[in-house]
Subunit: 356 residues, 2 copies
């Protein structure tokens, strides 16, 4: 890679090394709360038109960095690119969530699924990664990502969003073998996808397990965690991706942090329902933590945002290994000025914390 | 009350006394999965027409007891009767969740709210309780219930369902005094409502805090738990309601069980994301536990339903103080035959456990 990294705070924090202040990035930082994002999105015509065009994807990836002193960029893409590349036909109805034209339900559907070609159907993602890396000029590291096998399967089997994804859950209980076949194919695809992103220039990797928290403890282990652990093992066995820290984020899975910390990942994302002090004790120095401001706080007053940012920083305390983030993605109603004051407060108070 | 209770398994389990087997009831047991419910619902014309008519409410309350050997009846009603009685205008759009015609947003809106008259606007609820008690002939105990202040406020401020109820959260952070005024009025209304239900013949009381789990630990304490504790204290100070066990259920709040157990309630509802063995250790004999089968399991095969019911029973083990239930309400797609086999399996295996 051509450029020397000018700001390595994020990567150092993921390795639990000392930093001058706490690094921060924001889940969905390239998103609808930014007017310039909405403009590019309109030019692209559709969400998939935006995500599948490397120039547009690069443009929106860089937009939040032009406004805020963020410590990482994250590839603009969708968590469902893999099933789309598998032929399920992803689209986003206006104002609705993702939809698959061809959901998978039967053993035959699942047997037909193959790991997509990273230089074929998913080449646009690697092209975007390469372009963003070039355009970043080493300013901050670039995060590559994927949905987790469980979360991909939720949408692939249900065909769209759901409160409980009961169709996949029924498959788990009635047809565990077929479910494991699906999850294993997805785990191999996710590993290949993240290795390809690493090869294209991603400098950290994150797995979003958005719906892991819908499972009880035993099914979480069997159907979600096991496959994330398999992916982490594959990433740690590859000569390129093994150099990249991996962050696992299972929303609503605060009860499983101790097991997730044993997968060999570098860090865990934590949502806002868990106190970071408790989470830090639970993971006992095995991993860094990323989180965990309630995204709804960004709709409060500047004073409240600053105060609550300090509460999060204090809950982690003056220890290495904290990456500040929201506990979930930023929502469209947020005023970008509130993100600016959050980023600035985190950096300022993070310095104060270290001064002790 | 005229009739001697013929089956007191549920009340004994809530008091952590020995029982011959594990009692079971099912959240939303009088619901759309039953064809006879759908027939009565149609005759009533609308959901509110059903809930506000004591004869219809009694009819649907008793329907599941005619099919299954359930150990408790629960008043058929809605969690939002209090704000409706406060004048907010509750309705249920077809296939949608609850809607309020007049949500409350401003300090002036909130200042105008008063505790409704339990012999006036909410008399229909007490009439239903009296009628159901009469028609039950002491077969099983009758549970009265309410939404928690936090959960009522979620809908009252947002005006309808939401993923994150960010409007109320903004109010919490920007206007904590006004928010506390709202929650305090609601807590006094809920206490009066549950005391009135006790006076009308309810034999146990439950508070549904459906959205408590949306809050981080500190806001949960401040905006949800504090008011549930206030209600429990009020119930324990009333000569009639103090005799009734109170169950608190905050969905997604497994991390707060130890604090909830200190409110003076008799039992805690537990959703399926927590292992009951862990929950039992956490509450350390202070309260009984109610739960926690994943409702999605009722869409699996009979063998799986039986096996998973046994897993839940084994996770609690052969100790007093377990009421079997789902971790959340039963869904409309469930085959009633699956409920029958669940109830029968819980009773049969509960006996085996005790013989163990």
């Amino acid at each position: 890679m051509p450029d020397v990294l000018k700001n390595d705070r994020f990567l150092r924090a993921l390795r639990r090394e000392p930093t001058d202040t706490t690094p921060i990035w924001v889940m969905r930082q390239a998103g609808r709360y930014l007017p310039e994002y909405r403009t590019t999105r309109e030019r692209a015509g559709s969400f998939m038109g935006l995500a599948q065009n490397p120039e547009f994807a690069c443009e929106v990836t860089l937009q939040p960095l032009a406004r805020f002193e963020l410590d990482a960029a994250i590839l603009f893409s969708d968590i469902l690119t893999i099933p789309d590349a598998m032929g399920l036909g992803l689209s986003f109805a206006h104002g609705e969530g993702p939809q698959f034209a061809r959901p998978v339900r039967s053993a035959a559907d699942i047997a037909k699924l193959a790991v997509p070609d990273m230089d074929g159907e998913l080449r646009y993602v690697m092209d975007a990664v390469r372009l963003i890396r070039r355009e970043l000029h080493g300013r901050v590291p670039l995060i590559g990502f994927s949905g987790s096998p469980w979360t991909l399967a939720c949408y692939m089997v249900e065909g769209h969003g759901s409160k409980d994804f009961a169709t996949l859950k029924s498959l788990c209980w009635n047809e565990p073998k077929i479910t494991h076949q699906l999850l294993d194919t997805l785990a191999r695809a996710v590993a290949a996808y993240l290795i390809a992103q690493a090869g294209a220039g991603a400098q950290a990797l994150m797995i979003f397990d958005t719906w892991g928290g819908l499972l009880g403890p035993a099914p979480f282990r069997e159907f979600s965690l096991r496959y994330m652990a398999q992916i982490v093992a594959d990433l740690n066995a590859d000569p390129v991706s093994r150099e990249l820290p991996v962050v696992l984020f299972s929303k609503g899975a605060g009860a499983h942090l101790h097991e997730m910390a044993d997968t060999g990942c570098a860090a865990l994302g934590v949502d806002w329902t868990i106190d970071l002090a408790d989470a830090r004790r639970t993971v006992a120095g095995k991993v860094a933590l990323q989180g965990n401001l309630d995204p709804a706080i960004l709709r409060a007053s500047p004073e409240v945002i600053r105060r609550e940012a300090r509460v999060v920083l204090d809950s982690y305390g003056n220890h290495p290994g904290h990456v500040f983030n929201l506990g979930h993605g930023i929502t469209p109603e947020v005023d970008p000025e509130c993100v600016k004051l959050l980023v600035d407060e985190v950096h300022a108070y993070g310095r104060t914390l270290r001064a002790g």
